[in-house]
């Protein structure tokens, strides 16, 4: 018989290390690809549609959110996110995916008690802590610099 600690060590020894490095590379490549495609989109919007830079960035964000939502609704994205993880979660695609998948999953419980009350189940913390940190950092900035 071995105790828990020994068992944990044994498990750790046999968990393949290669997969870790592979998943890091995948996260890097997929995340990078989204950044690259975003830049392509920004440049096309500026050169072909004559948008100014800030508008081009905002449109690109919207397009990425729409594509991520659509792919989630079509059922591809859940699978990809579980494989790629950080590469799709850290870009805005993760934000859109979390909202759309919550909306889809809880739709069966009704439009108010299901979809409505679970809509921000995962994205809520991003909005909450984003607003709280931005608010108090701004107060701090005002106190420091007047």
């Amino acid at each position: 018989m071995m105790n828990k600690e020994e068992y944990k060590k044994l498990v750790k020894k046999h968990v393949p290390k290669k997969n870790k490095i592979k998943s890091l590379i995948i996260a890097f490549l997929v995340g990078g690809l989204i950044g690259f495609l975003g830049q392509v989109c920004v440049n096309i919007l500026i050169s072909s549609f004559g948008l100014i830079k800030t508008e081009a960035f905002a449109w690109t964000g919207l397009i990425i959110i729409f594509i991520a939502s659509l792919l989630t609704a079509l059922g591809f994205f859940d699978n990809w996110v579980s494989k790629v993880k950080a590469g799709l979660i850290i870009p805005t695609t993760g934000f859109a995916h979390s909202i759309t998948s919550c909306a889809l999953d809880y739709k069966k419980d009704g439009l108010i008690t299901g979809l409505g009350s679970n809509f921000f189940k995962l994205a809520g913390s991003v909005i909450l802590y984003g607003v709280i940190s931005a608010f108090f950092l701004c107060v701090l900035e005002v106190i420091i610099h007047g």
Partner: protein
Amino acid sequence: MQYLYAFIFAGTACLIAQIIFENTKLTPGHVTSIYTVAGAILSFFGLYDKLITKFGAGASVLISNFGHMLYSSALLGYEEHGILGLFSELLCKSSAAIVGAIVFSFVLALIFDPKD
């Protein structure tokens, strides 16, 4: 060159997040929240604008950009309308992302059904 910078910055940010996933028990909710707050903090030190100038969409497609937009539009609101502006303008710049995500998700959720 611009494309390469965008690729490397977005990729590195995701790589760091993946390292966090591999070595801690933090969930995607934790890490995205941390990145958002980190974006607001970088914006507080005036660094996020520089990141966007240098890395373009590489910095703007990340969730940390959400924190940057919240902070920078709150500060702009304060400069233009005082304390009230802090409350009334905070969500201004990020409105596109939030409203977009809400509208697309709602409409798509009505049209499609979950796959499994």
